[in-house]
Symmetry: C4
Subunit: 392 residues, 4 copies
């Protein structure tokens, strides 16, 4: 067992050559490596420049609070497991040194939870509308609509090209289906409903007619929105459209879509900086999906603690979009809806993966976990567990 | 803890100004408020005029029997939880002062239950027909048909526009599908079947051709009927049709549909009065859907005790219509079918919500609860529980 | 409690007037009536002429073996519950007096069970073909095909009109779908497959073109067959076709179809006589569906003990047809397949009804019970239970 | 009880006439036959010539390691149950006499398992493409696609004729559907995706246009492939195409397809010899499906220990093809993917058969067992059990 506790290193200096040689030796050794506070070579507020010069820790005992770098993909990989010890630092000092990033767990989510009064009715819980689909990509709409309903939306409708009619009506009996004039793609997004939340973009494609339809829709829509998938790609190629988004619009790009949207970055810290700046500029909630999904809004960041590698599966993002749309339809403000929805989505996956393992966790199975994830909110708290970054 | 026991107030006088100021203070206080018999400011037989002058009670210990106002939306909201104590009033006196409204629980339902003899066959349990659907709204028919079958109907058929053919046949293999001559809407409701119960109106739309088809159908149909959704809207706009309904027809409007049907009301008591008068005039069973669904027929009211806020979800009403149609097809008289069906629907939701939470309780999930709700009828009785009007 | 033990009466004489008056009085009494051996007024080998002159027994303690009349609809209704006591009659005598009707329970079924050798493959278990369906009645084919597969057939294909294509392919991914040249009905039953078992008639209709198609099919088909539903109706109207059936063809009429096939009867005993004569004449296995399904072949009758009133539900018969077809495809001879299949079908329903109650037991749910019914064959035996003829 | 321990016989000589007569007598006896090491008359390295001259053993206690003949269909049938005893042979000697065939169990599979790192995403787990289907045979594609997803592939798409569009999109919402220009069959396999694993051939038919399409596809495809069903039949008739397969292509023929591919064989040993030679010649992984599926590659054989006779059911092979495609998409090399996939497929069936029995184990049910089979990999090991070759 090796104990890595070369304190000063972690803070801001790259290690000296002789230290780097020691680190390289340790990393090739078979010994169990225990890092104290933070693995040597990692910085608390900067990216790693020399990845050879960081201890690959089997276990990290960290002090007082977890560090941002534990949650970022480029640096999180240096920790296999970690745990935080309360070492009794002065709490007043801590609250003054609060960073811009907060962890989102069950307590944070419960604070914003809206209980259901008895004398409520279907209308109390809003109307969610999922707009998307194109020839061969109708399943995404089905998954998002099912998720919006399971997230508690009173009504859920779908707006799809005509080739999706029988598919969506068969697979989603609870919802109305509206069809575009286009047979195989959206060409004119126009409806008489008054939804309280709109999710748009999944499976939609980026055909020119669809770009026009989306553009026209953006210019007139006032309903709170979640924008995902191809609608993000359209925005990325037509940046002028970004200004048409209602304040508080939620964007849920996956890594490549994010890059198209905000441009390339040098490292995780660069990505965060660009994301915060983008979010401020367009007054939008930006969801950076990943092992620890990060939500950025109004200069603050919210790190989600739920989820697992089994959720890297087709349609998982469509389910998230559906959950967020369903919560917004119920009246949750965009940021609260996003924080809550990202948490629920991950928790649903965590509950279901116990029955399926990582590989067999599918989007449909995650949807079935949404109910249990709601119930879990009010279950007695489990004791805090060690966070594992690697499948054992 | 505050004890609200200003007895006289609850009966018939609005509280004096100084009492009202006390009430306002109490309601803004964080203290736990326990009301005795009835919260001060609520009346037993009248609506509340000044909502500022009513105690918002955390808990009500009521005497002998619950009050009608506990179950009505405008007044039920003043009670978070309540419980009834037997204080030994003279039972003869009680039976003479019986009100026009009775509670419907398991005992009331069991009294009318029709057991299944061993030497029965499919025909013994009747043929239910669900008529409805239009382009984009076929799921409602699927849900109602599934519910009618689960409610015990021997056969269940559907009558839909042609655009529903593949959808309904795929999702509901147990039933026959009859199609209208209309492609996207009902235009001529005509069939050779002889059902024992008809449910009509769900997802049907109010196109002029459909109005005509419904009107012609009403003029010739003699089968016991449940009328719901758009068929109610058509009746509301064509009051002359109301006289064509067979005696004992069941109408299941949601609040807005009810208003279109019987006109606006000043308060819950006004609504009840109008509903009773409407029900008498047209000899129909009127179902006032809500947290406590209220059934009105022949001058009497029946208050259902099952159900929960999770049932405020898309398609939940279609499931109710299906259950009622399925029970009527089995030969339950309209009132008994309605009392039983409303109870079962709520109980199915109560059983399922334990597994899903309020938000993820969907219409399809309620349907799966119908079987367990039947089994529950014969399960050993649970002890009476406190009634919670608010999610904890 | 009344004990009915007027022994002599049960055997062959109608009761005297004064006995009849006593019986009438007893039947209107609220007392619990216990009948010994057989309720007074029932005959062991004849139908009841005067239904007023039979004790309605709450409980029957019978001797040595149950009587045929306990299982027939007209007479079974006089027994609410019954149980058989072994009173030590000479077994040699019993075996010599064996009647033409035997009970079929788990032991009888296990005797003919064909175990699965390890080194078997898909082909070992045959190919079942379900032929049927017409516009609006495709679900029957789906249910039968699913049941045939769950009954163990290695391959299951369907043959349907073209309007069933998408429906069957979507709902039954395990099977191939062959389509007729007819759009909405079968017009020419012609295929290149070589199935080992064919189930025909469900949802098929009796259109003239279909009658021709069925007639031509009968004249050339050599595969063991189950004939059900509309195919039976066609046979009933075209008796000449009956001679075209391969030896050992299984017919599964419901009561009305049976009547069309063999003509009216005076009472249950008359029905049995006609059924046995019909079965002999055409060398076919005749299934008389009911609370206790009765199978007639080569002069013998087999009374099934499984099943419950919840199975009087749409599609339940299609499931039975599928099971029988699936067993015949596996090589079970027609009589064995029928005895086994009828038992399994009822046992599947008995297992599932525990979870659904009578009303919510649907055909799809029965299909899910087929696997557990197979497993139950090898489960430790339960002790013999009282047979209840009425829902408690 | 008979103990068969005529040691010398098993090794290489056919038994003398008087021994053969004894064997025949023993086989007709009702006594329980216990064979020691190997049933008399079986050879360790040769096929049986005279099947009358082999002891049919109820139980075999074998020494040190199981024999290849225990797993082959022609010889495995002589053992009802068997177990291996460690008799302390010199392990050095054993390792030098290692045969070309190894058993594949949980340990062998776990050695190649690829754990899921936390900071992974959908793209990490590849894109599987299932190509197949024709009019009436679309279900095979649905089953394979579902299985590929459950096996852990990040994305799963399907490529089908146009008549499969609504079917696949409805039944498989997680995946994209690409359609061929052909309405009822594949005529031109052409797509813009870049999958990491392709499964091809299921339900595809062997129409001339499809043969051309497949041939053209083979000549340009570089993606690792699983070839099954009709694609194997096409290869068998067009041997020149075999050279177009990428190295390491996996072929999964059932017995008849295997024969068409490699020609007839005299006995199981002849089959193995031809299979190894074929596999070497075309550098492909050859899967010989059976009770113990045998995988042949680069001169070695791998005998799978999971699976049961219930898996001889329609679509079971499509599920295997899907699993293999899904594993290859995740980056498992062809041989490892095949060994792992064959094991998982059998284990999924073994887990599910506990709930369904052999007969009701269907392909859809096997798919639901894939998740539990993954979880089972990491469950505490069960003690080695007796292997049963016959259903008890």
């Amino acid at each position: 067992i090796i104990v890595d506790a070369i304190f000063g290193i972690g803070l801001n200096r790259p290690p000296a050559d002789w230290v780097k040689r020691i680190i390289a030796d340790l990393n090739t050794s078979d010994a169990f490596t225990l890092a104290v506070d933070i693995p040597s070579g990692l910085f608390m507020e900067r990216a790693v420049e020399d990845r050879e010069a960081v201890i690959q820790a089997d276990y990290v005992l960290s002090f007082q609070s977890p560090k941002l770098v534990f949650f970022l993909p480029e640096t999180g990989v240096f920790l296999n497991q970690w745990e935080v010890l309360d070492i009794g630092l002065d709490r007043t000092f801590l609250s003054q040194t609060e960073t811009d990033f907060g962890l989102v767990g069950k307590n944070e989510v419960l604070a914003g939870y809206r209980p259901r009064p008895k004398f409520s009715h279907k209308g109390t819980y809003g109307h969610a509308l999922v707009i998307g689909g194109s020839y061969g990509k109708m399943g995404a709409v089905v998954l998002a609509a099912q998720a919006a309903l399971k997230a508690g939306s009173g009504l859920v409708s779908t707006y799809v090209p005509q080739c999706g009619y029988t598919i969506v009506q068969t697979a989603f009996p609870e919802g109305m289906t509206l069809t575009d004039t286009g047979e195989r793609k959206l060409t004119d997004i126009d409806y008489a409903l008054e939804p309280q939340g709109v999710g748009i973009g999944i499976g939609m494609g980026t055909d020119k007619a669809t770009v026009n339809a989306f553009s026209n829709f953006l210019s007139k829509n006032k309903t709170p929105m979640v924008i995902d998938a191809d609608a993000i790609n359209i925005l990325a190629k037509n940046k002028a459209l970004l200004k048409e988004m209602p304040k508080g619009t939620v964007l849920t790009p996956h890594p490549k879509e994010l890059q198209r949207l905000i441009g390339s970055w040098k490292d995780d810290f660069g990505k965060l900086k660009k994301a915060r700046s983008f979010s401020k500029k367009y007054d939008c909630v930006l969801v950076i999906k990943g092992a620890h999904t990060l939500i950025v809004y109004q200069g603050k960041g919210y790190i989600n603690v739920t989820g697992n590698p089994g959720m890297a599966t087709a349609g998982s993002g469509d389910v998230l979009t559906g959950i967020l749309t369903g919560l917004m339809a119920q009246g949750y403000p965009p940021l609260q809806a996003t924080i809550f929805g990202v948490y629920l989505h991950g928790r649903a996956g965590d509950i279901q993966v116990e029955h399926t393992g990582y590989q067999a966790l599918t989007a449909s199975v995650i949807i079935e976990g949404i109910g249990p994830a709601f119930l879990d909110l009010f279950a007695p708290p489990e004791k805090q567990e060690v966070v594992a970054n690697k499948e054992e």
